[in-house]
């Protein structure tokens, strides 16, 4: 919704809506912006040893500060103490410490400049490391050298644990290390200069269900600690020191948002049945066991996508069968009788495990990933299949293979599954012999071959994120083309429709688990296509269910037919923008209050 006319534009900042809702409160500025580095040549030789001594003092001070944080760490964060030990060690690592001193002496430059050169060098070396876990250690280097830099320049690093009252956090950017230190119960909202829809701040804010606006560019320069600010995480607006009129307006908006949220959450356990009696299953996507409670709380009809990479990444060994089994079993038991769809490993591309050596690839999105990787590393694959099958004895478990590009891969995967079943039977393990097995449709060739593939599986689940990326040849993380990533592209809509039709002709159910499935504006179109299930972040489930309950499938079909007449994505977007809210009453509330993230 638009900011009303009476609001002073000079106090208004616009950013990316990261987590919905409205927060009104005092700002707390976290000074995490990069320190400006002064560059100086040391003309006089006698200054050089002084400069080395100054660097040494800054390092010693940093050690003392980290030591102090470490001794204050509450017991429940003892893992964090280990991180600090690592930081202490890195502080004196030759690559940083000795290297900086060598540079001061040899290049005759000041300590800040020398340190920056050492860090740049380390960053360069680390950026070439293939192993994600090892590569990410550079974040520790950055964190610790940032502290040294502050001590050199004279800034005192603040402790986020000291926040006393409930505040809105204003920061340049927030790292996981920053939020670990925060008393999150005292945070009413987040706003940051940097960041986008997938940054750490966004993820934390959504998980905590508190409003956030990111990508504001210069909010840390415009806002001071203690300023009264309004954060509209639904529209992406931030107001600094608003007048009485603006405050009243936003207080009203906050109340209506909260009562609207309360209402949709109250109804979230009801099934998503259209007014003309078509039922869709609205499920949730999860990444780890800890998220299961939120799925149940938000009325998810099941888990439509359990991404299983979490137990494999950010660690050094492969998980054991037992470990995987316990995890899957627990998820299945809590969700039962609701179905849990476990996707087999989608490693490669942008997710790697340290336990396997990954070759350098020119184009990892098109490389050895997901099912291709599993068919090559059959030992890893079989361990996971065994764990999934064994978990199927404890609930309603379904399984799907990612990145299937043709029948060969599917048949090969099914053959391995069959072998695993035989082995488990021989070993006397229980499992559900009729467990549904499906595939993700996310490669264009699978769309074309959907009629053939449909005869070999129990269900399809369309992964729109990859499908759109591959179909439109758009790398979403490449900012130069990311704007061309268009879920409502006529080509994408036609592909989706053909998959649904191919699935239904073969008598199997067709679902969708990409981001598009949770986008309110797409919901009427997806209902019109006849999708049987949609899977999305659990916080979005109540909202999409409500939209579905307020429409008819016939109307969705009719709407889709009109959209399919559009020849360009601009025509589609314009048509949807101008007509959706008037045609589908569920979307009218969105226009008033705004959709969730």
């Amino acid at each position: 919704m638009k900011v009303p006319e009476f609001i002073d534009r000079s106090s208004l900042l616009k950013g990316v809506a990261a987590s919905p809702g409205i927060a009104i409160g005092r700002a707390y500025l976290v000074d995490r912006s990069k320190v400006r580095v002064l560059y100086q040549y040391l003309i006089n030789e006698s200054f050089i040893e002084e400069e080395v001594a100054r660097f040494e003092q800054a390092v010693a001070r940093t050690e003392a500060q980290i030591g102090a944080i470490k001794s204050d760490i509450p017991a429940e964060l003892s893992d964090y103490a280990y991180i600090l030990d690592t930081h202490l060690r890195m502080l004196r690592d030759h690559m940083l410490y000795q290297d900086t001193i060598d540079r001061i002496r040899q290049e005759k430059i000041n300590a800040e400049w020398a340190l920056k050169k050492s860090v740049d060098h380390a960053q360069d070396l680390f950026s070439r490391i293939r192993d994600e876990y090892i590569r990410s250690r550079i974040m520790d280097v950055e964190n610790v050298t940032d502290r040294v830099m502050r001590n050199l320049v004279g800034h005192v690093p603040e402790s986020l644990a000291e926040i006393k009252e409930r505040v809105i956090i204003v920061a340049h950017d927030l790292s996981a290390a920053d939020t670990t230190q925060m008393r999150l119960d005292r945070v009413m909202g987040f706003i940051t200069d940097m960041g986008g829809k997938t940054s750490h701040t966004t993820i934390i804010a959504q998980a905590l269900e508190i409003p956030a606006v990111v990508g504001l560019k210069d909010c840390t320069k415009r806002i001071r600690t203690g300023d009264l600010i309004i954060v509209d995480g639904t529209s992406g607006d931030v107001l600094i020191n608003p007048d009485q009129k603006a405050l009243e307006f936003y207080h009203g908006r906050q109340r209506s948002y909260e009562s609207y949220q309360a209402e949709i959450v109250r109804c979230s356990h009801l099934p998503a049945v259209t007014l003309d009696d078509h039922r869709l299953e609205v499920k949730a996507n999860i990444e780890m066991f800890g998220e299961v409670a939120a799925v149940v709380d938000h009325g998810g009809d099941g888990i439509g996508l359990y991404r299983t990479e979490f137990l494999y990444v950010s660690r050094l060994t492969l998980p054991t069968e037992e470990e995987l089994f316990v995890d899957y079993r627990d998820v299945a038991q809590i969700m039962a009788p609701r179905p849990v769809t476990i996707r087999t490993l989608d490693l490669g591309g942008d997710k790697f495990t340290s336990a396997v050596h990954w070759a350098e690839e020119m184009n990892p999105a098109l490389g050895l990933r997901a099912i291709r990787f599993c068919l090559q590393e059959q030992g890893i694959f079989e361990t996971q299949l065994r764990a999934i099958l064994r978990a199927s004895a404890f609930g309603n478990v379904r399984m799907m293979f990612p990145m299937i590009s043709g029948l060969e891969e599917l048949l090969q995967a099914k053959e391995i599954l069959e072998r695993v079943r035989r082995n488990l039977t021989q070993e006397g393990f229980d499992f559900d012999p009729d467990m549904d097995v499906g595939i993700m449709i996310e490669v264009p060739s699978a769309v074309i071959m959907a009629d053939v593939l449909a005869r070999e599986v129990d269900f399809f689940s369309i992964g729109t994120n990859d499908l759109i990326q591959y179909s439109l040849a758009i790398d979403r993380v490449n900012e130069r083309v990311a704007h061309m990533y268009e879920p409502l592209h006529p080509a994408v809509l036609r592909m989706l429709l053909s998959v649904v039709r191919a699935g239904h002709e073969a008598g199997i159910r067709v679902g969708m688990c990409g981001e598009m499935a949770g986008d309110p504006i797409c919901a009427p179109i997806l209902v019109g296509m006849g999708l049987d299930e949609l899977s999305m972040p659990s916080t979005t489930v109540p909202h999409i269910k409500r939209l579905i309950r307020m429409m008819t499938r016939a109307d969705g079909k009719d709407y889709l037919e009109q959209i399919l007449k559009c020849r360009t994505v601009i025509e589609v977007n314009d048509f949807v923008k101008t007509t959706a809210a008037t045609r589908f009453s569920g979307l009218q509330d969105d226009a008033r209050i705004g959709p969730p993230a």
Binding site: M95, F126, R137, S354
Partner: protein
């Protein structure tokens, strides 16, 4: 330092990293802790690339997964002692398994 003197003080040793995780952060820390007990300059080489074996960060950039062969090279009065100790540590899989 002339060639002859270097010959006396320099030692090399080839070892295979056999622990299942390869040379990850904690293993690298153990290796550096051991290397720091000796005065010699110690380097670890893999595929022709050599790094300071007294720096955890440098060791990590070598990327040594399980099964890879590395060469240890030490230069200094206690070079042999240093390599004996380091070889033992690596052959004992950094005390992990």
């Amino acid at each position: 330092m002339d060639e002859q003197e270097a010959g006396v003080l320099e030692a090399t040793r080839d070892v295979t990293i056999n622990n299942s995780l390869g040379l990850h952060a904690r293993a690298a820390v153990r290796l550096v802790e051991m290397a720091e007990r000796y005065k010699s300059e110690i380097r670890m080489e893999k595929d022709g690339q050599g790094v300071d074996a007294k720096s955890v960060l440098s060791l990590l950039t070598l990327e040594c997964p399980s099964g890879c062969r590395v060469r240890l090279r030490a230069r200094g009065a206690d070079s042999r002692l240093a390599l004996d100790a380091l070889t033992e540590l690596i052959e004992n899989n950094f005390g992990e398994e």
